[in-house]
Amino acid sequence: MELFAKPLPLRLRSIILSVAILALTLTLWELSIPSQKDAGELTEYELLTGGGAPKAGIPPPSEVLSKAWEQLSDPFYDAGPNDKGIGIQIGYSLYRVLTGYFLAAAIAIPLGFLIGMSPLMYKALDPYIQILKPISPLAWMPLALFVIGDSQASAIFVIFICSIWPMLINTAFGVAGVRKDWINVARTHELGSIKTAFTVILPAAAPTILTGMRISIGIAWLVIVAAEMLVGGTGIGYYVWNEWNNLDLTSVIFSILMIGVVGMILDAIFGAVQRGVQYTE
């Protein structure tokens, strides 16, 4: 009973439980992979149909781990168009995501300001936003490829179009929701509209805007994988699809995990920025 008298801190207990879940999952996974049958045990028919050849199957976690070690110890090698290190592939994806994303931010945030401050603009632009917002970003791909004519730029455009909406809507919502009192403070201090926008409205709406930016970066990272599977050439999405064509499931699983890790890092960065601009009333 002495042990239960003083329970471990919650943080520590949650870490122990997380590790236990991981260990259990990996063990079950490792055990559930059937080992290849020995050729000697096969019937003549099975041998004739190729049963003795190594079959593609889900690799055990141990293999994935050794693959990860191999890849991560040399992430930036470049041995031709179909054989580049994971670091290079992720680099290409990040380049496309960030380019499309910041282009979107450069348009969405000023436009969101305008919509949020002007009920006229809000009402005029709302139908367009409502129609354009639910379109799957990949549906733009054929049109983008035709109009832009370049697969790289098309992928960036797809990222642009998918990340613009949450930022636009959240900026407009945040700006429209700035408390009248704070606007009045700006007015009684004779601040001009530009000064009011930067010193009062922007900081007041910043948490809402950052929420939109965080949602957008998450969506952009989801979409880049699918976009790169379509346009091919480079990037983590292309890498996954290429390894599938090579029937290298170990690399497929490894790259899936890497997509998750990079997505988590991106979210954590925006989460930190969001906490930086947060305020309590």
Binding site: W182, T188, T199, A206, T280
Partner: protein, 300 residues
């Protein structure tokens, strides 16, 4: 009265009625009064009589349907740094520290000042309201209600406006804190010779602070019916003021007005030209008071 420091002429606020055709809703009309430089004036009235609207019109944040406000011979149009406002809910910017909230105002007032000048000026006013020693670096959410209102008062005084408008500044504070900040407000007011116009619901607060108390009838169709002069000499102290012979006369008059006459007088027109309020004065020789024209007093 056109040469008063601040003169409010025939102010009215009407809202169009929701169904077209019928009469618009008039919150108040024929509101005229004036304030002299350096005066401390309180306005009392029940909720819905339009006190806050009058204050917002004075601040330039709202527009009256009729009438206008003239300050220093110029018509009030839009907000200005000449009129500082302390809002009931403090209206501090929550993402800035207390100090930054004050420097925000000082920078707006003195755009040409250096950082050091702005800091020194801001600290001076923060110290005046008793905020120093690290508390000024906290965000408003980390301060108590009383502290927040102190910051708000410091911000308003720091821009040294010609007219200070206070909208129920102590409404959300407990009685003890309220007393302390009232004293601080009086101290700063005496030091700066500012003109103050303040909304309150508290009769004792009004008598303690004001030179003159404006009484409003109930809305709709409210007006400023009376202007009660508080002749109690300054500096006043909280414990001695109740000993003054006029104190309970003024107090009873105010309570009586709020409890009964504000309702009875609702919708009536002023008998004075321009809708000016009747002046009520309590002197040592009460008996002669009712003799004067346009002066109202109750016999105790």
């Amino acid at each position: 009265m056109a040469n008063s420091f601040l003169s409010i002429e025939g102010l009215a606020k009407r809202f169009p009625s929701p169904d077209s055709g019928s009469e618009p809703l008039t919150v108040f009309e024929d509101v005229s009064f004036s304030i002299e430089k350096g005066e401390f004036v309180c306005i009392i009235g029940h909720s819905g009589c339009g006190k806050s609207t009058i204050m917002n019109v004075l601040a330039g944040l709202d527009e009256a349907t009729e009438g206008g406000v003239i300050m220093n011979g110029k018509e009030v149009k839009g907000p200005s740094l000449d009129r500082g406002v302390v809002f009931q809910n403090y209206s501090l910017l929550p993402w800035l520290s207390a100090l930054k909230n004050v420097t925000f105002a000082v920078k707006a007032r003195h755009r040409e000042w250096s950082r050091e000048q702005v800091m020194a000026h801001s600290y001076k006013y923060l110290e005046m309201v008793g905020l120093s020693g690290g508390a000024e670096l906290r965000k408003p959410s980390q301060l108590s209600g009383g502290m927040r209102q102190r910051v708000s008062i410091a911000r308003a005084f720091a821009i040294q406006p010609e007219l200070l408008l206070l909208d129920e500044p102590f409404g959300a504070l407990d009685a003890l804190t309220r007393g302390t900040i009232q004293d601080e407000l009086l101290k700063i007011w005496r030091g700066t010779n500012q003109t103050v116009f303040m909304i309150t619901h508290d009769v004792d607060e009004a008598i303690y602070l004001a030179d003159r108390i404006l009484l409003m009838t109930n809305g709709p169709l409210a007006r400023v019916a009376e202007s009660v002069e508080v002749g109690i000499p300054r500096p006043r102290s909280r414990d001695e003021i109740v000993e003054h012979p006029d104190y309970y006369k003024v107090r009873n008059h105010l309570v009586h007005f709020l409890a009964r006459r504000s309702k009875e007088l609702a919708g009536t027109k002023s008998t004075l030209p321009g809708g000016r309020p009747e002046t009520v004065r309590f002197g040592d020789d009460d008996t002669t008071e009712p003799e004067r024209p346009n002066v109202y007093a109750i016999n105790q």
